[in-house]
């Protein structure tokens, strides 16, 4: 069985809890105070499926609107997408549609089954502004699966990653590659000018 790897890109509006989910997934608990991501964090993590391990490369993107122009850059090479919104914030749920459009436009050839919508903060039930039915219906309409998670508890965190990865594995156990045109091309010329450059 060859080394199976999968690139998962986490998108969603700011403060939806993307980084917290990733933290909870990596370490089993949520460790940090809120400090918005200004960039893209990268982590490795292996998920064990019944037919063997899959190594995940997690790309946790900045959700702030002023960086929205950069989201396509990362979607281009995604092999699976986690689209997170905040169950206690109606506006973040409304943005799911915009993200779906971005995914359809930039993650060309990515099957809808490889996108998982996550309603985060399910533990804050008294502040909930989006019902499970509504979110599930919306996801189905978009062709995506839906799960509710809580990064703080944590609840469903490992399960959601495993569910997503299981969608990526073909019946024969191989990972089917998606279309890929990476901005991270090794041959793109450097934009930094200056002496003594080493490549």
């Amino acid at each position: 069985m060859a080394d199976r790897r999968c690139k998962v890109v986490c998108v969603g509006t700011t403060r939806a809890g993307k980084s917290s989910l990733v933290q909870a997934f990596l370490y089993g608990y949520m460790s940090r105070e809120y400090a918005g991501t200004v960039g893209v964090e990268f982590h490795s993590k292996t998920v064990f499926l019944p037919d063997g391990p899959v190594r995940l490369q997690l790309w946790d993107t900045a959700g702030h609107e002023r960086f929205s122009a950069l989201v396509p850059t990362y979607l281009k090479s995604a092999e699976a997408v986690l689209l997170t919104f905040d169950l206690t914030d109606r506006a973040s749920f409304d943005e799911v549609t915009q993200y779906a459009e971005l995914i359809a436009k930039h993650a060309v050839g990515l099957a809808p089954t490889r996108v998982l919508v996550l309603g985060n903060k399910s533990d804050l039930d008294d502040q909930r502004q989006v019902s499970h039915q509504e979110a599930a219906a919306k996801s189905i309409e978009l062709g995506y699966d839906y799960m509710e998670v809580s990064a703080t508890q944590p609840t469903n965190v490992v399960r959601c990653f495993r569910h997503l990865v299981a969608q990526v594995v073909a019946p024969d156990g191989r990972l089917e590659p998606t279309c890929m045109s990476r901005l991270r091309s090794p041959c793109s010329p450097s934009l930094i000018s200056g002496p003594k450059r080493r490549s």
Binding site: P50, R66, L70, S193
Partner: protein, 691 residues
Amino acid sequence: MSLATTPRFAHNTLQGGIRLIQQKLYRFALEHRPMVDRLVEAFAQVSLDEDDPEGEEAEATTAVAEDDRLSFAAQRGLSLSDTKIQSWKEAWIRKQMQTRESEFTQTEPLSVAIGTYNVNGRRPVDEHGPVDLSPWVAQDDPADLYVFGFQELDLSKEAFVFSDTKREEEWSEALAKALPRSERYVRGNKGGVAISLTIKDTDICFVATHLAAHDDAVARRNQAQHDYLFWLGDLNYRIDAPYASVRQWVEQQNMEELIKNDQLKAQQTAGLAFVRFKEPPIEFMPTYKFDPGTDTWDTSEKQRTPSYTDRILYYEPDEGQRSSVNKVANIEYTSVPELRVSDHKPVRARFLIQVASVIADKYREIYVSVLRQLDALENSTMPTIEVDTQQFDFGECKFGFNKSQSLTIRNTGPVAASFDIVTDHLETGTLPKWLLVDGGANVILQGQEAKLRFTVRISVDAAADLNVGKDAIHVILILRVKNGKDFFITIGGTYVPTFLARTLEDLTYLNVPARQHPLEPIVRKEAGMHVPKEIWLLVNRLLKDGLNNTSLFYIQGKPEEVDSIIEALDTTLELPPDISIEAVATTLLHVLNSLSEPVIPRQLYQRCMECAHAPMLCQQLVAELPAPSRYTFEYVMALLREIIASHEKKQSVINIFAAMFAPILLKSPRSGSVRNRNSVMGECVIGFVRP
């Protein structure tokens, strides 16, 4: 070679399959998958229960050896290619699994009896009838596995042609009779040189050869594919000493001298043959050469020196590659002098090896923990940097703006970090025209700092786009750390629009001060002016107040005066009062020089060069210019003619003006080629400025 096992392991042996391969040993490598592969398969069959409690997969508790961390960090710090890092990881996993092999395997001892006999083409009979091979084959304690190698089974010519010979059958039968209670399991390998078999989850290989025809590479390949490798046969190594000495040592049973002069030992010591092979201590007399049927050393004319030709060795990997499970213990290594059929004595050895079976559950557990360690390794050795800011504001940026700000990048991680700047600005993948990023080396060692300098420079090119809103002073750069995270660096400023860096045509339609026009393309409605108002104001002032000033264009206006004129034109479309006439002249040059398309459009540059010597053609070309260019050109030429008329030394003024205005009015579509063509360009202009 023949092979037999006791019933205890027979099932396994048969199931594992005996692969017999003649001569082409390398095929082992192709047909025999390495152990780890099979283990992975075993793992794959183990189903996981789906309900894993949250956090079960967490790596927080996974400790990574500091050595591994440093080693991995070094690999990443070297900025190796992804594939190289990938294969490093795979090797790391293999090594971890190998190191921990004993944790997921259970072993049991297997006793292996090995014999080698050069029978010199003889039949297994003597004057008393069939020869009993028991002294060679059987011992009190039956082995689990028997392997016998014969050489020179049949020396007849027929035997070279036909591989099946009666002689072979006879020896097989003799062997079978001598073997204790395992006749059923005898496998003959006619003419074969190697046998590979799997017992439990352990791969064992036996190679039998005659003569020293031995390729080290073959041995290494075989070893790589097996847990154990034994080599037996008449290897034909001699004792390198005079016959008399050797005979004397033999009489004296001087083992020390005999072995000291053995060729195989010498070759091994010199690293020339059977490197990393081990041989149990030799405690028997040379096995060659005897008068057949006797224990008498060779009495023929040749008087062969007694030698250890018949040997049994096994492969022992280097310390680092040795498995914690595979162990070879030698029980016996001896010759059997009482068998006298051949001119050789047979040799036999007994080994106790450990055969391992993989415990699937345990294997899975360890494999999981190894992969988790790799995750932790990867995350903890990620190149990590810190930046002092992620946002730069350059404030008001006017035409000609040129300022820099620095970003300090500090490597706070455990490895060298290499970085680059990436952007998708305007979907071009290149930096904006108004931005320059300077840096030294893009690799920062641990604990070191590097600086990136961002320079915002508003050139004609940049301003031309900014004026019409095609670009803005705003970009998000991605500071990309190789194998690490991406930082978004925002660079912004407020562009101040100007009438500079526009086309003449646009300017003729600009009917408000440029500063008041929104950052969008100028709408060309109604009739435009003949000449841009800004240029008209400048030329008009020069015609009015400058004609008697013979230093006009010779003396540069003060920069701050020029700036104030530009500012006034941008904001009020009027010239400021109390301005020196030299400053007005300098401003005119500056304005003409800052047009986004020169007065003579770039596409006409070549034609202009070609007709430079023919004033008629020049006139014709100017007549064909688009209206705003033509009017502006003629207007400026008229001014110059007026000024020249007031000078006394007209020809020298003409030459100077031509040289001054030519590179401003005419610009090559290719940058860089301008300088050496200035004289030709000057000629073009001379025709027009002559009064």
